[in-house]
Subunit: 647 residues, 2 copies
């Protein structure tokens, strides 16, 4: 494209617009394109947007009714008992959440609470009889439920929950109790207004012995909506967004619950009052139960990604039609998208949206493979959890940043609720801290990466470690699987070229991403070995390094996925455009960390200085295809619901 | 502090807490400390916070009533006729807006619309008789007014407004008209519900000649609230925030207005229908009229800064009391603020809040000096407008980023409206694009800087330019005045030390900031001289460079102001703390641009790598004084209105 004049590009693009957008979308959605298209075909789009002026009570009722409309199509129903879960259904549950995220995000989150978390707890932690008794009602919304894990005092540190679930042999019952004010379950969706039954997490105590966190179903309201004795429910009221979700707090005053309501797949109490578990180690048992959270994280990341795509579609379409200031030498005014500053806002964000989308596809692959295979190895589960945590962080922080960017790119119009951007922004805001706080999740990612590292390097003493590293300079310690193998081959070639590699050389990008990751892991591992592991201060002093490792690891994983996604693309035009987008993504990432690459001698001064020019050039070349690029992101224009795009 | 143990620091800090916070606040508020303290004493704090669940209609009514309560104290009244404006009153109008920003921001913006913009238009653009007729009513709220400048089709490009103000000699009247749909005045505060009179900007046409943009008062509603004939008003309804401000659009269908309602201080039509102006050049006349906007920009920047300080105060106080995860080797849990990752979120943000506050003080100085002196030189006006534009950008983008950071730092609690962070975030969001879009304003800053540059280098041909640059390597082309002179002296000393300067050497910081600015201006000026100035593409290709120049110029100005503020501090403990904060601000800025400094050989690899460690160290040292630091920002704890800090 770079040799063509701007006009000829525009003309060529106009003729090809629909096909390029369509082809990009097929490539972008990859193996799940047909499934997503089927979801869009099923989607009841009429009435999908809530009036942003609706007050709390109306918004909650609207959200419930809208969720019922959606649930009637079967969306949200793909939650199966863990034992019989098949790959197709598991994947469908993720795609359902993406599709629901095309509409009001309160509805999506309410579905997440009801189907994913409450239904997921029954399906994942309950026994067969509990699944038969409760799962259908959870899916068809006849029993509205809560997922009561977080407490006022403990959010990230779930292992320290204070709620107790004590077995009382006299009544053959459990007593669910909130010993302190800080034990109240907080920010619980479906609690303030609609929930009947709560899946409550607490410390299981049997005969004076504590067995760690377990989950029990507690009736909190009867069918008429009356709160049950011993249960106190509070309303969190107005929030920064998601007004349609009725978040509340729940406190228990020695509430008695029949023994058969303990979700006891991983730990049960029998008629004689004996505790049994198939998993001996309480720590491993706890993490196995928490494994059910992984779907929630994948959904939140996927929903945030859809919100981002909606915002980018709105802002890009607006920037194409909105003009400001006369174009020199003409009578016409200049479309915003013709300004370099505007291109540099939107196009790198679009490129990153593509990158994260390809990575999300790979996460879905991994989830389907691992979760559908009950016999999967622990390291597969760890890889899945690491990827899910990392992409949840990347997708949600990018949603916040990019939707805000889109809002500002639309000026005053962007601030009017009828144009949808501020509501998207307000609703996704909390995605950064729920289903795992992003800062905590990044530490989980780093832990996963370092565990991997230890496995590769296990058994070496500190000296051996350093020697091994020294021997391996120039080759890779990054363990790559699946999508990453292609990138690995490109790196090998790029290493041979060294600094002579072109700016658009994918191998050079992959090599740089790998170097950044490898060096930062090596140095962190060395610091950790040298540190006193029992000293809070010593470990705390590395926290920023830990977060950096998590970020650069994920950034490399995302690039690998983009490379694999391009490789799988069969349309020549789409492939060419994806190549340019991938280069834009890679160079933007390199530019943001130019200080690191220079200080660590991975890039020459001249190359670092030239990055900006290369990025500007790519923006100019991609600009005429901007509408096709957002078409490729898969949000149908007629669903954007943005008044300023109406005429 | 660095040689003390953490415990002794805590104890020392506990004993000194109030004094340090008080002393910091006195230094931080500088020459305006007493005036601000007086404003706080006057502030009617009861009922200062609006219930975030309030709907549109109630919120608008609440905001109007609250503004009346505030106006009764005299706040907002310091708007005087331009001819008689004195320094004290000019400055008081800025401080009033800061104080009002301690409360609901809809009220602050409504005051800004009513007092600052509507009142300001009458005071600044009206003749003596118009001032006598309308100014009192604008200030005491008996006449509610609009500032109708922005149109649907033209926001940033105000010179191209479409509304016409045509003189009709037959009726000796003006005809105000919106020729197209895009001519409607949009996003106008006080339009949707409350306004009686609008200050309308449009193209003045007399006898077929167009004289450029002028402002006329148009009655839009009578006393009973009935919309006047020919006027159509629409309601923008729900917005991303500022729900208490009744923004609407106004369209005019040949509305006839008496001749004496044209605000004609800079351009009038006499009884014979002849146009007269004291300013011959229409372009200069236009910009003189727009000069009235400068106060609005200073206020918006100041209001954003207060919002940021409120959020930082909330998040820091929460991080001090909120614990999570057991502290190794103890039974206690660790306060969030003990974690390095949390320190690195909040402490550099606090340091930047201080930096911007000192710079804002200097902007107030400049405004008082320039605006109170009708005989000021054009370059003084330009310097004022450049500084106001730049600080408006810096304060508003920092408000958005830092309030979001505070929200996330408070987790789920931060998302609950009762804790105030999401409302602050939603309300300040639009500050980034109103009163001048930030991207456009940065270009204005760069233009101001380059004009300065041209004055210094004027008359040199391209070769002469390059030679002059070469000769001056090692000295400065940065023109410094006032607060900057101290920094200039420090730079001179630091240059002699070169790379041997310590990390905390203020001269080294100032030198680096200066180098970044000087080099980027030099290279931009060279590119501009080489480019075809009539080619859109050639100028457009430099837009990112232009924005970079604006940013690094402002960053240097902010550091200069911080240095001057420390110099003026008379309390030894506060001074020491300010020194550490200034170093944290400077190193954070250097770290963010490390790529630039390395690629341009202004910093060694070793130094760039060590920045992170230095910043971490500063965070650790400042952490025990965190509460005093936010006390110094001047937001009384009892005004934070955050439920989670209540007990």
């Amino acid at each position: 494209m770079s040799t063509m004049t701007a006009d000829s590009v525009v003309q060529e693009q106009r003729a090809d617009e629909a096909p390029l957008g369509t082809a990009l979308n097929a490539a972008f959605e990859g193996a799940y394109h047909e499934r997503r298209a089927a979801g869009r075909a099923l989607w009841p789009s009429e009435g999908m947007h809530r009036d942003p002026a609706m007050g709390l009570t109306d918004a909650r009722e609207w959200t419930l009714q809208r969720l019922k409309t959606i649930a009637r199509t079967g969306m949200g129903h793909s939650i199966q008992p863990a034992e019989s879960a098949d790959r197709d259904t598991l994947i469908q549950s993720l795609v359902d959440f993406e599709i629901i995220s095309y509409g009001d995000l309160s509805v999506a989150i309410k579905s997440g609470v009801q189907h994913g978390l409450f239904g997921g707890a029954i399906a994942g932690l309950g026994n067969e009889s509990q699944q038969q008794r409760f799962l259908d009602g959870a899916l068809d919304l006849t029993v509205l439920g809560c997922f009561a894990m977080t407490e006022l005092g403990h959010g990230s540190d779930v292992a320290s929950l204070e709620t107790t679930i004590t077995y009382d042999p006299d009544g053959d019952e459990f007593v669910v109790h909130s010993p302190k004010e800080s034990s109240a379950k907080t920010y619980i969706g479906n609690a303030a207004a609609h929930g009947h039954l709560a899946a409550v997490f607490g410390q299981l105590i049997v005969d004076g012995h504590q067995h760690g966190v377990h989950c029990i179903l507690v009736p909190i309201r009867d069918e008429s909506g009356t709160v049950q004795p011993g249960v106190t429910i509070g309303d969190h009221g107005h929030k920064g967004g998601l007004l349609g979700v009725d978040n509340g707090w729940i406190s228990f005053d020695s509430v008695r619950v029949p023994r058969d309501l303990l979700l006891d797949r991983f730990g049960s109490v029998d008629e004689q009052g004996h505790y049994r578990s198939s998993i001996e180690n309480p720590n491993r048992r706890f993490f196995t139960m928490l494994g059910a959270l992984v779907r929630g994280r994948i959904c939140i990341g996927g929903g945030a990604a859809v919100a981002t795509r909606r915002a980018l579609s709105i802002a890009t379409r607006y920037a194409e039609r909105r003009t400001q200031f006369r174009h020199p030498g003409t009578d016409a005014e200049t479309p915003l998208l013709d300004y370099l500053a505007h291109q540099r806002k939107l196009l790198p964000a679009i490129a990153r949206a593509y990158a994260l989308g390809f990575a999300q596809n790979e996460l879905i692959d991994t989830f389907g493979r691992v979760a559908a295979n009950p016999g999967h190895a622990p390291n597969e589960q760890r890889a899945l959890e690491t990827l899910a945590a990392g992409l949840k962080v990347f997708n949600t922080e990018f949603a916040n940043a990019s939707i805000q960017l889109c809002r500002e790119a639309c000026g005053g119009a962007g601030y009017m609720s009828e144009n949808r951007l501020t509501q998207l922004r307000a609703d996704t805001d909390v995605f950064a801290t729920f289903e795992g706080d992003n800062t905590v999740l990044l530490q989980l990612v780093a832990k996963g990466v370092l565990t991997n590292y230890r496995e590769v390097w296990g058994g070496l003493d500190r000296l051996g470690m350093v020697q091994a590293s020294a021997r391996l300079v120039g080759s890779s310690v990054i363990e790559r699987t699946g999508a990453g193998l292609l990138a690995e081959r490109l790196v090998t070639t790029a290493r041979r070229k060294g600094d002579a590699a072109a700016f658009y050389d994918r191998g050079w990008h992959a090599w740089m991403f790998e170097e950044r990751e490898r060096h930062s892991i090596d140095s962190l591992a060395r610091r950790m070995r040298a540190a006193d592991r029992d000293s809070f201060d010593a470990i705390n002093a590395m926290q920023d390094h830990v977060l950096f490792v998590a970020r650069v690891h994920m950034e490399r994983v995302v690039l690998d996925a983009f490379i694999a996604g391009i490789d799988a693309c069969t349309d020549a035009d789409a492939k060419q455009t994806l190549q340019e987008l991938c280069t834009l993504f890679a160079l933007t990432s390199l530019e943001a960390d130019a200080g690191w690459f220079l200080a660590h001698n991975r890039m020459s001064d001249a190359r670092a200085k030239a990055l900006r020019k290369q990025i500007n050039q790519l923006c100019r070349e991609l600009r005429p295809r901007a509408i096709a690029l957002v078409e490729g992101l898969g949000v149908p224009a007629q669903w954007l619901g943005s008044a300023m795009l109406d005429d």
